[in-house]
């Protein structure tokens, strides 16, 4: 078992005092970020990314930096559940489904049970996903070593078609947002010919748009505006978790092993194929409701209704790192920000990472096991503390978050222009979110735009402009066909509904 040996080596890398300290720091910061309105996994990691620039230059520092940032991500995943259960405010989009049964439980005075169930099933989902990552990613990576430009372009195509096919937003809005993301990525110097594109003589646009700025603006500032509309006061249930409640809930949880397993499968699948954590949590809530004996009672405070979405969201969030590491194609916006971090630290994500940076990859995977254990301990013990953060009035917390976002945007390139762009992206994020334009594919398109275009152009050079190279062998043809099928999926369901309606 090569993987187990590599994993043991990874544990040796991850289990240094510095890395353990970073792990706990990351988890605590992550939960706080997940609890605060306007700060979430993606923009939280984006804001803290510049702080790791100097850290990553020390020997072994890249591993420490990724451990810190990925633990912020796990922390944010855990934190989302707290606000959903106690305040009925999903701190993160993927915890919307957790509010359906989590908040009714809290209103019945069983907040401790709901939170314990949420945290424990998050942990289980993440654990199963990490095991999948451990054993599947070396296989995917060795497979992907053979990939050429057409295969890579087909993978990108699949990623983006999956967004059109699987998101619940209208397909043409997804397309418009996504293609605008690609267009923003194309601004600046053309990597192949060196020609200036879409700069219109402005020096500010020479370097193009940085996706970190877009992430901070779209998710951070935009989210603040949306939260504001709901008013300035949060009303929440209070929470106390004591050992008795935890043990009692843990005694109850094994009953839902089948729900957990199903949700983990849904989550891992949606994380690897870039559907993301949010659709995964909804899908597994729906599946659990259909299959459960108490399905008709869902929504009135069923523990099973908390287990299903939380397991799936964590499984998806965790397994989203698999395509990021092995193919360089992130499965979620936060994974995209982590990928951006790797590039800035001078690591090239993709199959070669598993050959050339064994310490980094296995240190990260080992830290995923440890980080989730640390996360479970932190959230179970510190819930009242984190809930107290939400009681800070919005008129205090909002300006502080705007300042944090501005500092984050400034430190990316030390440029005030970027801070202005953050404000613009904030307004756009608000409009897009209200009009159901999805943000995730847009962000992913800004991140992957240059690579997708490069692989497309290289593939076209190989074939002298003949599109049929995307079907030239079984592998690339299979991926392309799957991508086109996903792209056509909304059309198929629309026709099906029309045919049945008439």
């Amino acid at each position: 078992m090569d993987e187990l040996q590599s994993l043991m080596h990874g544990f040796a890398v991850a289990l240094t005092p510095t890395n353990l300290a970073l792990m706990f720091t990351g988890i605590v910061l992550g939960v706080i970020i997940g609890v605060l309105p306007g700060l979430g996994g993606a923009n939280g990691v984006a804001i803290l990314l510049p702080l790791t620039f100097s850290m990553a230059q020390t020997p072994g520092g890249q591993t420490s930096a990724i451990i810190l940032l990925s633990c912020i991500y796990w922390g944010a995943l855990f934190g989302g559940a707290i606000t959903s259960v106690l305040f009925n405010i999903p701190g993160e989009p993927w915890s919307v489904a957790t509010t359906f049964d989590g908040h009714p439980l809290a209103q019945q005075g069983r907040a401790g049970t709901a939170l314990t169930a949420a945290f424990t099933s998050s942990f289980v989902g993440a654990l199963i996903a990490v095991i999948v990552v451990t054993f599947l990613s070396p296989i995917v990576a060795s497979f992907a070593l053979e990939f050429g430009p057409p295969e890579f372009f087909a993978v990108y195509l699949l990623t983006f078609c999956a967004f059109v096919g699987m998101s619940k937003e209208p397909p043409f809005k997804t397309l418009a947002a996504m293609m605008t993301g690609f267009a923003l990525a194309a601004v600046g110097t053309d990597p192949v010919t060196g020609a200036l594109r879409f700069t219109f003589g402005s020096v500010y646009l020479l370097d193009g748009f940085d996706f970190l700025i877009a992430v901070i603006g779209l998710f951070g500032i935009g989210e603040i505006f949306l939260t504001l509309e709901e008013g300035l006061a949060f009303k929440g249930a209070s929470a106390r978790i004591n050992l008795g409640v935890v043990l009692e809930t843990w005694k109850e949880l094994p009953r839902y092993w089948l729900t957990s397993l199903r949700s983990s499968v849904v989550g891992c699948f949606m994380g690897i194929v870039p559907g993301g954590a949010t659709p995964a949590s909804f899908m597994s809530y729906g599946v659990a409701r259909r299959f459960s004996k108490n399905g008709d009672k869902f929504g009135s405070g069923q523990v099973e209704g908390v287990v299903a979405p939380e397991t799936a969201a964590h499984a998806a969030g965790t397994s989203a790192l698999l395509p990021m590491l092995t193919l360089g194609v992130p499965g979620s916006p936060t994974a995209a920000v982590l990928l951006g971090g790797l590039l800035i630290w001078g690591l090239q994500p993709g199959p070669l990472l598993f050959v050339e940076q064994k310490d980094f990859v296995w240190g990260l995977i080992a830290s995923m096991y440890l980080g989730n254990i640390a996360g479970l301990i932190v959230v179970l013990t510190c819930v009242p503390l984190f809930a107290a953060i939400l009681r800070i009035p919005f008129s205090v917390i909002a300006p502080v978050i705007v300042v944090v976002c501005a500092i984050g945007a400034y430190t990316v390139h030390n440029s005030i222009f970027d801070v202005w762009m953050m404000v613009v992206f904030g307004v756009l994020g608000y409009l897009f979110k209200k009009l159901q334009y999805p943000l995730a594919p847009m962000v992913l398109a800004i991140v992957l735009g240059d690579n997708a275009e490069a692989s497309f152009r290289q593939a076209m050079l190989m074939s002298q402009g003949d599109m049929s190279i995307l079907f030239s062998n079984g592998l690339v043809g299979g991926i392309t066909t799957l991508a086109l099928a996903l792209l056509a999926w909304p059309l198929v369901t629309w026709l099906w509904r029309r045919a049945r309606g008439s």
Binding site: L51, T193, I224, S395, V419, G426, R457, L461
Partner: protein, 169 residues
């Protein structure tokens, strides 16, 4: 709290907002097509020209935004619900405008002093806090950030005349 934020009349309706955003996308698409054609969106002797890939992006953006615009025309009567209420819009603007002023101030007086002003005035305006409360929060936050960024992580942030005066530059 400002009493007139309870105004629930719609400031914009969904159709107006949909059409405006679709128009924005169309404009972006048109700009992309225009500049791609200028750069050359064809197949040259040495392969695809710089505008080859973006040209099609522009076309897809324009077509999608047209379809979205046509779709939004069907929003009539009750389906053309309120996009944002007057009170909500006022709240959003009461954050957006100070934030923009804050960003504008950063290049003049540095991020720390602007953050103090911004947080203090925001809390005064929207939260009606007592002066000592808002001053302690504003100074506390700004000094904490100074310690974290300048001291601990050695990441320099924009500074203005006050920092120069105090010799903190």
């Amino acid at each position: 709290m400002d009493p007139n934020t309870d105004d629930t009349r719609p400031a914009f309706r969904a159709r107006t907002a949909e059409l405006a955003v679709a128009g924005l996308f169309f404009l972006v698409g048109a700009i992309i097509i225009f500049d791609s054609v200028r750069l050359g969106a064809r197949w040259a002797a040495d392969g695809p020209q710089p505008g080859y890939f973006p040209f099609y992006l522009g076309v897809i953006i324009c077509l999608s935004s047209l379809i979205n615009a046509i779709g939004s025309l069907a929003l009539r009567g009750p389906r053309n619900r309120s996009f944002v209420e007057v009170g909500q819009l006022r709240l959003v603007l009461s954050v957006l405008i100070p934030s923009a002023v804050f960003v504008g101030l950063v290049s003049w007086i540095g991020i720390y002093v602007s953050a103090i002003l911004y947080i203090a005035l925001f809390m005064r305006w929207l939260g009606k806090y007592a002066w000592w409360k808002l001053l302690s929060v504003a100074f506390g936050v700004s000094i904490t950030f100074y310690l974290i960024f300048e001291m601990w992580f050695k990441v320099p942030l924009p500074k203005g005349p006050l920092e120069a005066l105090l010799g903190l530059d």
